[in-house]
């Protein structure tokens, strides 16, 4: 399987897993469903996932959804669990929509009522474009690539921020830079972890005392026009083993094709 197909497939699977949560979440819409009180005037939008259908529709934090496909969302009260019934109504409305049917929303933004109307399929297609394009072909042979500590690693896989202390024996600079351009080939790194203490399952004092000098060496082979993404993997079964540093490992969790020039 070609790397870019695999990459697109992984992104699709991640998006599909997120979509399994709820119909509104599958649109990338984050709403305050916690209580009927919060949804008295309508369903408050807490966020729209960048690149999602909700984002393409133009929804943004602070918006209040007052109507979905003709069904009012204000003053609906609470459901059996005490949550906002408006959220259940929104989810039911989205779930009932036929693929080509339009999603019509009336949104209150800064006191102004806006109408948003888009066929769900069109919005979804526009959003999914982002998952397929932008991949660069990787030429073989010598060249350059990147090593990056850019912290977008999935926390569900216990991957956290890592810091490169030494890159081929030298301090990489400037400080705070997440990506370093390197020649294609093998590089020796000294890596430190930046795992939040609350994820360790031990007290902050124990953590502070024991986590000194737990940097680890890692050899990375960088392919041309490829970025190797580095992270610190928390070994949850050895989370308290500070003495031998077994609680974490530096890993290259993903290689992405990216023109390094």
């Amino acid at each position: 399987m070609k790397p870019r197909i695999a990459f697109a497939l992984i992104l699709f699977l991640v998006a599909a897993a997120a979509a399994a949560a709820s119909p509104s979440a599958s649109l990338g819409l984050l709403v305050d469903s916690a209580s009927a009180e919060a949804a008295r005037d309508g369903l408050r939008v807490l966020g729209a996932t960048p690149g999602s259908v909700a984002d393409r529709l133009g929804l943004r934090p602070g918006d209040v959804l007052v109507d979905v496909n003709g069904t009012a969302l204000a003053n609906l009260g609470a459901d059996a669990n005490g949550r906002a019934l408006a959220a259940t109504t929104l989810n039911a409305s989205i779930a009932d929509l036929a693929p080509a049917a339009p999603l019509r929303l009336r949104v209150l933004r800064n006191g102004t009522l806006l109408a948003m109307n888009v066929p769900l399929q069109t919005a979804a297609a526009a959003a999914s474009v982002t998952a397929a394009d932008g991949v660069v072909d990787s030429p073989s042979g010598s060249g350059c690539g990147r090593i990056s500590t850019f912290d977008v690693a999935p926390r569900s896989e216990h991957l956290y921020r890592a810091k490169i202390l030494l890159l081929d024996g030298a301090t990489p600079g400037p400080t705070g830079t997440p990506s370093f351009r390197v020649s294609a080939g093998t590089h020796k790194l000294l890596v430190a972890e930046d795992i939040p203490t609350q994820e360790m399952g031990v007290g902050p004092i124990a953590s502070l005392r024991s986590r000194r000098d737990t940097s680890k060496a890692l050899t990375v082979t960088v392919k041309p026009d490829t970025t190797a993404l580095l992270a610190a993997r928390l070994n949850t079964d050895k989370a308290a083993d500070f003495a031998h540093g077994a609680y974490w490992d530096p890993v290259v969790w993903r290689e992405i094709p990216e023109n390094c020039r």
């Binding site: 990459f7 992104l11 991640v14 998006a15 897993a17 997120a18 979509a19 399994a20 949560a21 709820s22 509104s24 979440a25 990338g28 819409l29 984050l30 709403v31 305050d32 469903s33 916690a34 209580s35 807490l46 966020g47 729209a48 996932t49 960048p50 690149g51 999602s52 943004r60 934090p61 602070g62 669990n81 005490g82 949550r83 959220a87 982002t130 998952a131 394009d133 932008g134 991949v135 990056s148 850019f150 912290d151 977008v152 690693a153 999935p154 926390r155 569900s156 609350q198 970025t227 993404l229 993903r254 992405i256 094709p257 990216e258």
Partner: protein
């Protein structure tokens, strides 16, 4: 017989009676031992009390320092920060070509938003919500810096 000799004989005659009169009572040694034990116990208690007080003082100072540190660094409203970052992101032009790193950030955001919505749906408290908003804020920060780089490089 000299006067000294007479005194000596007199003293010698009296001595056994005097010594017999000063034989310590039978319970003297147990009383001494009991006093010694009591004093030792008192010293031990004083040491323990002093140690305990010092420990309590250290703990109190540590807690005070921790409280002071927390008071000095105001709590971050991660939800407000994430929402502000999202609005900043919206204000940037839509990228023409998508950066693979940005795609990873977006897919992690999609996953996180699913978890965040599920947390709201089950009525999670702010202690559970805050770490999710913090992570959302970090990811939006990362995405924003990538988009800004893209905008800059497209202008050059």
């Amino acid at each position: 017989m000299s006067e000294h000799e007479s005194n000596f004989l007199d003293l010698a005659a009296r001595l056994p009676a005097s010594v017999a009169a000063h034989v310590p009572p039978a319970d003297l040694w147990p009383r001494i031992a009991a006093t010694h034990r009591r004093r030792r116990r008192q010293r031990r208690w004083r040491r323990l009390l002093a140690g305990g007080s010092a420990l309590a003082l250290i703990v109190a100072l540590g807690l005070a320092a921790n409280n002071w540190r927390h008071a000095a660094t105001p709590a971050i409203d991660w939800q407000a920060r994430a929402q502000a970052l999202e609005l900043q992101l919206d204000s940037l032009p839509t990228p023409t070509a998508n950066d693979p790193l940005a795609q990873l950030a977006e897919s992690e955001l999609a996953h996180l938003d699913g978890n965040l919505q599920a947390a709201y749906d089950r009525g999670a408290v702010s202690r559970d919500l805050d770490p999710l908003w913090q992570r959302r804020s970090e990811l939006l920060d990362a995405l924003l810096s990538l988009r800004r780089q893209q905008v800059l490089s497209s202008r050059i």
